[in-house]
């Protein structure tokens, strides 16, 4: 447990709301804010919080590198006059899961740590910001929070993830034991593991962990959104659908400025999932140079898409429709694309297929649930196993594990002696320990004694 670094968390209830507050507390909270907050969209005007008065509010923009995340209000609370008693920043952003998750991720990327449940209160308490008479109440509150957190994390760990993590952990402990064996028992008559074999072991673990990390579909969904491309022949109803979807679900996130206007891109939210909705130029043979270029770009967008709606005009002739259906089947990845038959109010309704009309709200609703259903399905398919990382904290821990193990490999490649490699192995174990519980030196030694005959 570490009480002195900078923590960050979404402080308003999860869900769609007008505004959300993300809170950063700790000695580096001002530094982190200065990295990501600008007073203008050109990112020319930064803020110097040290020179700014406490308890003031500032309008500006959050940027992740070059990408604008949101328009926000930043409130400054200088220690000790904050809830936690530490330097604190509160970022009021537009509401909703997506924006706030993006902001949280950004603060973490910039140096904050995702706060444990109740940690702000805990800090408030440690910094004597809370009345002593409240102690009991606070303790109960925090206890409730940590218990439920404990419970939920246990639940998450009960399944295959838990088994998986503990296998990986055991493998790292084995590896650490091998290293320690060589250091503490070099005089013993024991064959030590060759370095390249050891390296393979570690890179095998890294590979596995990377698989786990990539199972973090919802993470990708939350942070980056899904690129949803609307494609189809000219006049198949793409723009109508695009506008219809925007009308009902337009994201509060501001327009991501497209430099080229040959395709349109807007953000929408369906069932808490962020979509980058992309309307492409219609696909057709064309003599027009400019239009040809536009179509080329449309195809490129289709290649980059996470999900594609291929629109087929149901008012066309049967032959045309059959051709289109055939074309779709042959040219699109069926796991992430669906054909959508449009203009059903005036065209032919096809059984078993998705038919919509922009004038029929029910049909749009159905389309939406088909999209989310298919995405959830493909998320499962993608991981190829039951192991799906859902918890951001777990993912961050595992990323740190991978990071440490990569240092291990780099150490081996640089022919570093075991005690250096051990530093990073132990860091890896500590990070895994944050998910599953602490590791002790004892465990490593027990492992050695169990497997090797020691004692000259």
């Amino acid at each position: 447990m570490n009480l002195n670094d900078t923590i960050s968390a979404i402080s308003t209830p999860i869900g769609e709301g007008g505004i959300s507050v993300t809170r950063i507390s700790g000695s580096n909270s001002f530094g982190i804010t200065e990295k990501i907050f600008f007073k203008d969209t050109a990112r020319n005007r930064k803020i110097s919080i040290q020179e700014t008065a406490s308890h003031t509010i500032h309008f500006g923009y959050l940027f992740d590198g070059e990408n604008q995340i949101d328009e926000v209000m930043v409130s400054i609370f200088k220690k000790p006059n904050s809830y936690t008693g530490e330097d604190t920043i509160e970022i009021s952003s537009h509401g909703g899961v997506l924006v706030t998750q993006k902001i949280l991720s950004l603060t973490i990327k910039s140096g904050a740590r995702h706060a444990e449940p109740g940690e702000f209160t805990k800090r408030a308490f440690l910094n004597k910001r809370l009345d002593l008479s409240q102690a009991e109440a606070v303790a109960d509150l925090i206890k409730a929070k940590t218990d439920s957190a404990h419970e939920s994390s246990l639940k998450q760990l009960e399944g295959s993830l838990s088994k998986y993590i503990s296998t990986v952990r055991q493998e790292i402990i084995d590896a650490t034991s091998l290293i320690e064996l060589e250091l503490d028992f070099s005089e013993e008559d024991i064959e030590f593991v060759p370095k390249d074999e050891f390296r393979n072991k570690i890179s095998g673990i890294v590979e596995k962990l990377n698989e786990i990390i990539s199972s973090y579909i919802s993470g990708k969904i939350i942070r980056d959104g899904i690129n949803l491309v609307i494609s189809g022949r000219t006049n198949s109803g793409k723009s109508s659908l695009f506008n219809q979807l925007l009308k009902s679900d337009r994201a509060i996130v501001s327009n991501i400025s497209g430099t080229t206007r040959d395709y349109l891109q807007e953000n929408i939210v369906i069932d808490g999932i962020l979509f980058n909705l992309i309307d492409t130029a219609g696909i057709r043979q064309s003599e027009d140079v400019i239009e040809t270029e536009g179509i080329k770009r449309s195809f490129r967008k289709i290649e980059e898409a996470d999900f594609i709606l291929y629109l087929i005009d149901s008012t066309e002739s049967m032959d045309f429709i059959e051709n289109e259906a055939e074309y779709f089947k042959n040219n699109f990845d069926l796991k992430k694309s669906i054909p959508v038959f449009t203009k059903k109010d005036i065209g032919k309704v096809r059984k078993g297929e998705i038919s919509i009309s922009v004038y029929d709200e029910g049909s749009i609703k159905e389309l939406k649930s088909s999209i989310t259903g298919k995405i959830n399905e493909s998320a499962n398919v993608k991981t190829g196993s039951e192991i799906i990382l859902t918890n951001l904290r777990h993912k961050l821990c595992i990323e740190s594990v991978v990071n440490s193990l990569e240092q291990v490999i780099s150490g081996i490649d640089r022919k570093m002696s075991g005690e250096f490699i051990s530093v990073d192995l132990r860091n890896a174990l500590n990070y895994l320990g944050e998910i599953t519980g602490e590791v002790t030196n004892e465990e490593i030694l027990n492992n050695i004694f169990k497997n090797f005959c020691i004692g000259k």
């Binding site: 102690a135 303790a139 925090i142 940590t146 404990h150 028992f185 008559d189 860091n427 004692g455 000259k456």
Partner: protein, 637 residues
């Protein structure tokens, strides 16, 4: 003999020697009570000092002003730096010592300490009076001791360093003899007295191999194990106090192996083995198992190493390292004779196991004082450790803390991030050994900064402020420290030209440079040493580099600090995180049962161990992070 001493020390082994020396030198009168004044500093087992992690302990003891390193240097007959092929943090010095000379040197040293009386007697009973102190769990306070000869000696502190002697029983096959060491009797009465006061005792086991007659060994069938050609002493004082080093003649050790036949013969003795028949109840060390343990647990291993180590320079006994056994003497001999080189061997003394009482270590605190009796300290094997070095490390801490207590000063507690001794004592308290505890480098989380080569830089200031390190040595180490700091600073901010350094780089098969490069950057390359690098620079007008190049110690420190700076930086970050929780203290009378949310396992352990800090609490197995948050909240309330 006086009727009153400031401090009584019970036992004159490696812990007792360090405790006595520290306490006397800090200005207190000490009565050192031993069963046998001719057994002072006796090496009961291995005739060696140091080894992996143990060598670190010896250097730390030395840097605090202890005795062991100097005695080893004076009596060492083979010196070896272990793990030389690994990085500097795990290099470990070790020496074979002439065990008779070692004991004599220890006696000589103690006799020269004024304020110390060596008393041949046995402590049978502690005299105490009722005692309470706010915030502490004391029930009694030490008044003095009663001895086997019937004396009552008053004192303010007692340090128990009685090794394996408390209610000790030795085993060889079915033979069972009372005694703590071959030919020596057991100490009785004291355990019972402590039980009566409310202490818990436990039982541990250790063993020792046969001693062989040197004239009956055919060394031509064994492999020679020489020492280092350039031996390095343990003690900072040795270069100033011994007229030469190595002081003694240097000798070789020898290596041979057991075989299937050896194992078959040993197996015939299992039926009568006190280990396998359950006669020995105490738990033995897994890292130093008896030969019978090894062949039964690792039955697929066709052979085991046997090191033949001379016990003395001119004597005739050889220590059969790796062959510790409590089987009957005739089976030991028969089995030994199947080992190459030992076909005609005779045993001067058989191997045996010894069982003894120890005091589970949740009963002491980090100063080694017992939680029950104010002024009573335990150190060494009575705390469940094994090894001379582990004993000595505790001995010096107990001696210092008894003295500091009498001075009414803050105790000396070394953190896990400061010293192996700190790791050792903290481990004892949070884990309470269920087998004899031995120091390993892997037990030290911050191994990269707890090196044997910087023990003096880490600890000498502490030794000095206690009055245990002489002025001239502290002045020297301060100069070194300053030179190291300036050197690192210089090398990190100054550059060397391609012209000056490229010949070296090409010669050492590493890439050339094309513009001026920081010394520190070049030094980070595996292929470049500081000595070579300074050799390339024109140091005639660079007095700092000149000065640095004159001290191998300084060069060594600078090189390590720069070469491994990435790792050391990461380690320092770990230490910083560690210290934050160490600094949140938990009062000794903290009422854990008031915290309703603690798990029952955590509650049991916390009440028993009484961790001094949040950091220490986190290291106790069974205490979860949520328990820790609850403790913090309640404490602030």
């Amino acid at each position: 003999m006086n009727k009153k001493y400031d401090i009584i020390i019970v036992g004159a082994g490696h812990a007792g020697i360090e405790a006595s020396s520290a306490a006397v030198r800090m200005g207190f009168s000490v009565g050192l009570i031993t069963l046998d004044p001719f057994a002072i500093g006796r090496m009961s087992c291995n005739p060696a000092i140091g080894g992996t992690a143990k060598g670190h302990l010896v250097k730390e003891i030395d840097s605090l002003g202890g005795v062991m390193g100097g005695l080893a240097d004076k009596t060492g007959i083979q010196f070896k730096m272990l793990n030389k092929s690994k990085g500097p943090a795990v290099w470990s010095p070790r020496c074979q010592s002439d065990k008779d000379l070692y004991s004599k040197a220890a006696v000589e040293y103690l006799h020269n300490l004024s304020g110390l009386d060596i008393i041949q007697d046995m402590v049978k009973e502690l005299m105490v009076e009722d005692f309470n102190l706010t915030g502490k769990s004391f029930k009694y306070k030490i008044k003095g001791v009663k001895t086997g000869l019937g004396y009552e000696i008053n004192c303010n502190c007692v340090i128990i360093t009685s090794g394996t002697f408390l209610n000790a029983v030795m085993h060889t096959g079915k033979e069972r003899t009372e005694g703590g060491r071959f030919g020596e009797r057991a100490a009785t009465g004291l355990s019972e007295c402590l039980l009566g006061l409310g202490f818990e005792t436990g039982r541990l086991k250790t063993g020792t191999p046969p001693r062989l007659d040197v004239n009956t060994i055919d060394f031509s069938k064994t492999e020679v194990q020489p020492g280092d050609s350039i031996p390095v002493p343990f003690s900072h004082k040795t270069p100033y106090e011994l007229e030469r080093f190595p002081y003694q003649k240097q000798v070789d050790c020898f290596l041979t192996h057991t075989n299937e036949e050896t194992h078959n013969i040993l197996r015939t003795g299992f039926a009568d083995s006190p280990l396998f028949t359950g006669i020995i109840k105490g738990v033995g060390p897994r890292y130093c198992p008896s030969i019978e343990d090894k062949i039964s647990r690792f039955s697929d291993k066709p052979r085991h190493q046997i090191f033949l180590e001379p016990e003395t320079l001119d004597g005739h006994t050889v220590y059969m390292n790796g062959f510790s056994s409590s089987l009957s003497a005739d089976i030991q001999l028969k089995a030994a004779r199947t080992v190459p080189g030992l076909e005609n061997v005779t045993m001067v003394r058989q191997g045996y196991a010894v069982e003894y009482d120890f005091f589970p270590t949740h009963q002491i605190d980090l100063t080694l004082e017992t939680k029950l009796v104010s002024g009573l300290f335990n150190a060494g094997q009575v705390n469940g450790t094994s090894g001379y070095e582990e004993a000595a490390g505790q001995g010096i801490i107990a001696g210092i803390n008894a003295a500091l207590k009498l001075k009414n000063d803050e105790p000396l507690i070394l953190k896990r991030s400061e010293a192996y001794i700190g790791v050792l004592i903290d481990d004892l308290i949070i884990k309470c050994p269920d087998e004899p505890y031995r120091m390993f480098t892997s037990s030290a989380e911050y191994r990269l900064i707890l090196r044997q080569d910087n023990a003096d830089l880490r600890l000498m200031e502490k030794g000095y402020s206690l009055g245990l390190i002489e002025e001239k040595y502290i002045r020297h180490i301060r100069e070194e420290q300053q030179l190291i700091t300036e050197g690192i600073n210089y090398l990190s901010t100054h550059t060397i030209s391609p012209k000056a350094v490229n010949t070296l780089l090409i010669h050492n098969k590493t890439s050339e440079i094309y513009q001026n490069e920081f010394y520190s950057h070049l030094l980070k390359r595996n292929e470049v040493s500081l000595k070579e690098l300074i050799g390339c620079a024109d140091i005639s007008n660079l007095p700092l580099l000149q000065q640095i190049s004159e001290s191998t110690g300084v060069m060594n420190q600078i090189e390590i600090e720069i070469k491994y700076s990435g790792y050391i930086k990461r380690q320092n970050e770990q230490v910083e995180n560690f210290n934050r929780n160490e600094d949140i203290r938990i009062p000794e009378d903290f009422k854990y049962e008031r915290i309703k949310s603690l798990s029952s396992e955590a509650l049991d352990k916390l009440k028993k161990i009484k961790p001094v800090s949040v950091g220490q609490a986190t290291r106790i197995a069974g205490v979860r992070p949520s328990d820790i948050s609850a403790i913090i909240i309640y404490m602030r309330g």
